[in-house]
């Protein structure tokens, strides 16, 4: 009877496999080093967890099969068992070892995805400011001097650094196939480092609930060759209108808009928060890794 409970997850997993049409799940379908690191971490942890589950399930089935009342003589009276030092030390020590291993993996992979993605020679990272307002995303390219709304083009084979902030509620910038997510907030800038190895179109979205239009707050991420990217940037710079302060403020007030492109950024008149040194001179791309806002919110540890 109990075994039904135990095989259920297996059945469910099988069902899912069929139903999802054998397509790899998005998180495992990584197209860049950041997402690949995370995908590997997740697969590794699933394997470790499966082993733990197996141990618990085998023990449970064993107990239920052997010690059910129907298998015991009617006059059997279970003994008094205080506990067992040896056993208890074992099942404290082994989990501690597992936790230690996972902790090392965590720290290692976290620092890997939190820093500039490597393996692209000495190419300097492309800086893109991604900011959210109501239910749309603004992408500013200070290097190219252009800005887009609700779509994002990036070159492949080059590290990219996103600087995130919000003009309203907290949002979370997430392109699952390229990198894990990070919050965009109104009073500080956060960063995501990623790179795309394959050209293609990837789903990006805000994953942090921020009100009425949340479900539709998606953007398409187009990864293209450096040449295509340069060509596109040049076209935008040449043909699209300038983004004036008035136009930008109007844009902020509009809840939903489609795709838009501009040949200047909002950074000059509406700088990113607590990022004074950089936006005033948007051509300097020096990377200060010791962000003062890093520890924000951590004063709470009492």
């Amino acid at each position: 009877m109990k075994k039904k409970v135990l095989i259920m997850p297996a059945v469910m997993a099988f069902l899912t496999f069929i139903l999802s049409g054998c397509q790899p799940l998005m998180v495992f379908d990584a197209k860049g080093p950041n997402a690949k690191t995370l995908s590997n971490t997740i697969i590794f942890s699933i394997i470790v967890m499966a082993v733990i589950l197996l141990v618990v399930y085998v023990l449970l089935i064993n107990m239920l099969a052997k010690y059910r009342a129907s298998k015991q003589p009617a006059d059997y009276e279970p003994p008094h068992e205080e506990g067992s030092k040896a056993l208890e030390i074992t099942w404290t020590a082994i989990p501690i070892i597992i936790v230690t291993v996972l902790a090392i993996v965590t720290v290692f992979t976290t620092s890997k995805v939190e820093n500039q993605q490597t393996g692209y020679g000495d190419k300097k990272p492309l800086v893109i400011y991604a900011s959210s307002s109501d239910w749309k995303w603004h992408f500013s390219y200070p290097e190219q001097g252009i800005e887009t709304v609700n779509y994002l083009n990036i070159p492949t084979d080059r590290p990219i650094e996103f600087r995130l902030y919000s003009f309203g509620p907290i949002t979370s910038f997430w392109i699952p196939q390229l990198a894990g997510q990070k919050y965009a907030m109104s009073d500080m800038v956060t960063k995501i480092h990623l790179a795309a190895d394959e050209e293609g179109s990837y789903m990006g979205r805000n994953s942090n609930f921020n009100g009425k239009g949340f479900a539709k707050m998606e953007f398409e991420t187009q990864a293209m060759s450096q040449d295509d990217f340069d060509q596109w940037a040049k076209d935008v710079k040449a043909h699209e209108p300038k983004l004036t302060e008035a136009k930008f403020n109007k844009l902020l007030k509009t809840s939903f808009v489609g795709r838009e492109s501009f040949s200047s950024t909002h950074l000059s008149f509406s700088p990113a928060p607590m990022d004074m040194s950089e936006h005033s001179d948007s051509k300097s791309k020096k990377d200060d890794s010791h962000d003062s806002h890093d520890m924000k919110g951590m004063h709470m540890s009492h």
Partner: protein
Amino acid sequence: MSKENKSVPLEYSTEENELKIFGFWVFLGAEILLFATLFSVYFALVDRTGSGPIGKELFELPPVLVETFVLLTSSFLIGLGVHAMRIGRTKAMIVFYILTLVLGAVFLGVEINEFLTYIHDGATIQTSAFMSSLMTLLGTHGAHVTFGLLWGSGILLQIKKRGLNAKTANKAFIFSLYWHFLDVVWIFIFSFVYLKGVL
């Protein structure tokens, strides 16, 4: 529950009394957490003054010293009150308790005046995150003192009407714990808000 135990002070003499004193200590534990949270909020926001004043521009030590002196003295007096209660001198106890409450009222008066000065200077609870956290921390303490004044007066009335017995002694003792607690909180406010602010 009504069995009286003569070997301990009156306020501990019944089982119910003992439970109440223990329960009140647990409550004070929760109160410590409440104020600890308010202090944490204050420390998180102390430098976030926006366009408003910073602590150094705002704080004036003389009234704060008066408040500190008044509250410390009241705490001492209520200690004497409990002592008087234990040796059975009801009259003296009542006098000490009344003095305690009077000093509490003085403290409150000075604090209200301090708030009015801030507001007069254009620094209200809406001015900045720093001002919000400062006035909430001080205000919560002040509200506790205000409640203490009402509560303490109620207990005095009961002692006056019903005399000192296991019940009223228990209440008076618990009230003294509350009052000492407010004193301790104030010492923290004095040190970590005012002194740290002006230095």
